[in-house]
Amino acid sequence: MNLSLSEDQVLIKESAEKFLNLNYSFEKRRSFLENKKEAYKKNWKNFAELGWLGLAFSEDVGGFDGNINNTMTLMESLGSALVSEPLIFNNLVVGKFFEKFLYVKGNEHLKEIISGEKIYSLLFSPNQNYKNLILDTLIVKKENNKTTVSGKYNFIFGLDEFDYLITPILIDNKIHVYLLKKNIDLFDTRNYETIDNLVVSEVEFNSLELKENSLLLTINKKEFFEKLSYIIDYATLAMCSQALGIIDKMYALTLEYCKTREQFGKKIGAFQVIQHRLVDMHIVKEEMRSLNYMGQLSMEEEQQRIKSISLSKIFLGTNAKHMSQDCIQLHGGMGVAKEMSIGHYFARITTFCSLFGNSDYHKERYAIND
């Protein structure tokens, strides 16, 4: 039994923080937001060089040992720097997709994902209650041996810069997974932003032809969703790890503020009511970390995985959300001013609460699987 950080984790944590403090400060971040496309290219390249894009995958495709603890440690650091590049979607989700569905030694797609040469996206909608999680709203037509697809999708994250779109489609009650290519397979996308400046896309297919040569695999529904569920849980835990980094940071900012802000002739941190609330926050962030570790240690046993990941997501949507509100409150007027960073962390926690199923969705999932 060992729940302490490994040496690898400590190394990853330190190097990530060092890099991000230098290259992803709150000020730098502001400039990134003003020119997202350029920032995305530049940062993605850096992430690849740092080896971050390979952390979750095995050596033979250019990754490391794929240790989940290491990956989640990195996610935490990304959270505390409010990194907006969609690593969860353009690296973890798509990478795990190839790992689970088409793993072959030295898989070329995985290599491209890890090297960062090519950007992959998965057509999937991680919204609050997984409405149209995938496929539900697509209409497939077969006419004079052409197969076309039409339909609209929402909440696709990390699609903005894609080269390839992994597109699972239900045909004859089997899942056909196609790999659509930018500028070759044409479809409409509309981008817009979340309250915390993440880019979301709406995708629309207008009887797009699905060609045989872009078919990656066919698989029966049950197996597909079993494997997808693992991938989604992995991504959910990654998001919860980012949230953990955010909550830790919000706590630190709030503690710092209470130690410096003076009212009534003393630091507001000298008031017992404030002190006890900071203590409550301290406990909440530690509980959040404990549940996060539980999730990391439960990934490989299905029922345990489902239950513990749901607990992490429930905790995020309840106790952690409440704590994020309290952090704003203790900042007083400064808490609602956009020039302060605290509000940006708050907005991201708000977004994360709503993605990958909200707490009610996961309460239901937990109950069914307990």
Binding site: N127, Q128, N129, K131, N154, F155, R190, Y192, E193, T194, I195, D196, N197, V200, E202, E262, Q263, F264, G265, V273, I274, Q325, I328, Q329, G332, G333, G335, V336, A337, K338, E339, G343, F346, A347, T350, T351, S354, L355, N358, D360, K363, E364
Partner: protein
């Protein structure tokens, strides 16, 4: 005890309804019901119309041009305007500084300011908070130095709501530094067009421009603009506070927000059934209705005791705490109700506008912004922590 409406009450309600219909168009109200904000002109025109109709300044005595409504009439007016999503009356002039001038102003001051407030010709803002003094108001540093018939005012006010629209600011300034903090404060009226005033926007979490920082540099303020006596500003400020009471809980607006939330929850679905039938969601909604009714009947109790001449003490703080919490909780559950569309930025009324297109239903367009924006309610007007300090002194005697 009874909650019966008498005939005149129902007649009054109808008058209000009719007045709203004849003064605000369907689509304007619709836009507002979807969280769209009213422009300055829309607000001013609404207030002018109310005044013309004799429905303005409900808290002013008749002889000063107010309509001096009884609690039931105010209750009905608040309800009807809230449910119709009319513009809200901007409190700084008519609700706040007006009664102060009536109580403490000289006849010249009354003549000069009251008519312009009644006719909404002057837009007022409140110069209280400063960068260094939020909760601890008495520690304010803005100085007014006497120079002949004028004060020379220097300092910084912040968190000043709608200062960008304002013609006048009522302002707490320090006129004496050699005494207890409270005792050296004076209440000044400052023309926002005076030389030396700079207004800088503060953009809030929702990306909107509602509050400002106001810099005052050697601003010349005639002593005629002093309300009550020099160094007696604290007395004036306390009197003013006691007049925010009725509006502070925002019960009617919260009731209307819950009504909207229930509509949304009947439109949205959860695993193919109306969201409102989902037990988990339903119970959160029920709790909001419980809190809302607890607040509503608390306000009604206070109003009837007041009508019976009971002295009022702590109630303002109680209503402020629960009223502000309720507004936040409603916006939080509404955010949940609209699904993930709640986290998409609005394509309206957003300074740092990034979205041309909003993918969700109209009613979801401003929900995320509203959630972010309403964090302020438990902070402004004396944070809820301050309100609890007040209550523990006043009610508990601790």
């Amino acid at each position: 005890m009874n909650l019966n409406y008498r005939d005149e009450d129902n007649k009054f309600r109808k008058e209000i309804k009719d007045f709203i219909k004849s003064n605000l168009s369907e689509e304007v109200l619709k836009k507002a019901s979807n969280g769209g904000k009213y422009t300055k002109d829309e607000i001013v025109n609404w207030q002018k119309a109310l005044f013309k109709k004799g429905m303005f300044a409900s808290n002013w005595p008749k002889e000063y041009g107010g309509c001096d409504w009884n609690p039931m009439q105010r209750y009905i007016f608040d309800q009807e305007t809230a449910f119709a999503n009319t513009p809200q009356i901007v409190p700084f002039g008519v609700t706040m500084v007006g009664p102060v001038i009536i109580k403490f102003g000289t006849s010249i001051q009354k003549e000069r300011y009251l008519p312009k407030i009644l006719n909404s010709d002057h837009w007022w803002c409140q110069g209280y908070s400063e960068p260094g003094s939020g909760s601890d108001l008495a520690s304010l540093q803005t100085k007014a130095v006497s120079e002949g018939n004028n004060y020379i005012v220097n300092g910084t006010k912040t968190w000043t709501t709608l200062a960008q629209h304002s013609d006048w600011m009522f302002c707490l300034v320090r006129t004496n530094t050699k005494c207890k903090p409270q005792e050296g404060i004076s209440f000044l009226l400052i023309d926002m067009n005076s030389k030396g005033i700079k207004v800088e926007p503060i953009i809030t979490l929702d990306g909107s421009h509602e509050i400002n920082t106001v810099y005052l540099e050697d601003v010349v303020v005639p002593k005629d603009n002093l309300i009550y006596e020099e160094n007696k500003g604290w007395t004036v400020a306390k009197y003013l506070l006691s007049h925010e009471r009725t509006s502070i809980a925002q019960v009617a607006r919260s009731k209307s927000a819950i009504k909207k939330l229930k509509y949304i929850a009947s439109q949205e679905t959860y695993s193919n059934r109306p969201l409102i039938n989902n037990v988990r969601f339903r119970d959160k909604l029920t709790k909001l209705e419980m809190d809302m009714h607890a607040l509503e009947y608390s306000e009604l109790r206070i109003l009837s005791d007041e009508a019976k001449g009971a002295a009022l003490g702590s109630e303002a703080s109680f209503l402020k705490i629960r009223g502000s919490e309720l507004q936040q909780k409603i916006s939080e559950l509404t955010l949940e109700a609209v699904g993930s569309f709640g986290i998409i930025q609005s394509n309206e009324s957003n300074i740092e506008k990034t979205n041309e297109y909003f993918p969700g239903p109209e009613y979801a367009n401003n929900v995320g912004a509203e959630y972010l924006n309403l964090r302020k309610t438990t902070i402004y007007g004396g944070s809820n922590e301050i309100q609890k300090n007040i209550l523990s002194k006043m009610v508990l005697g601790l």
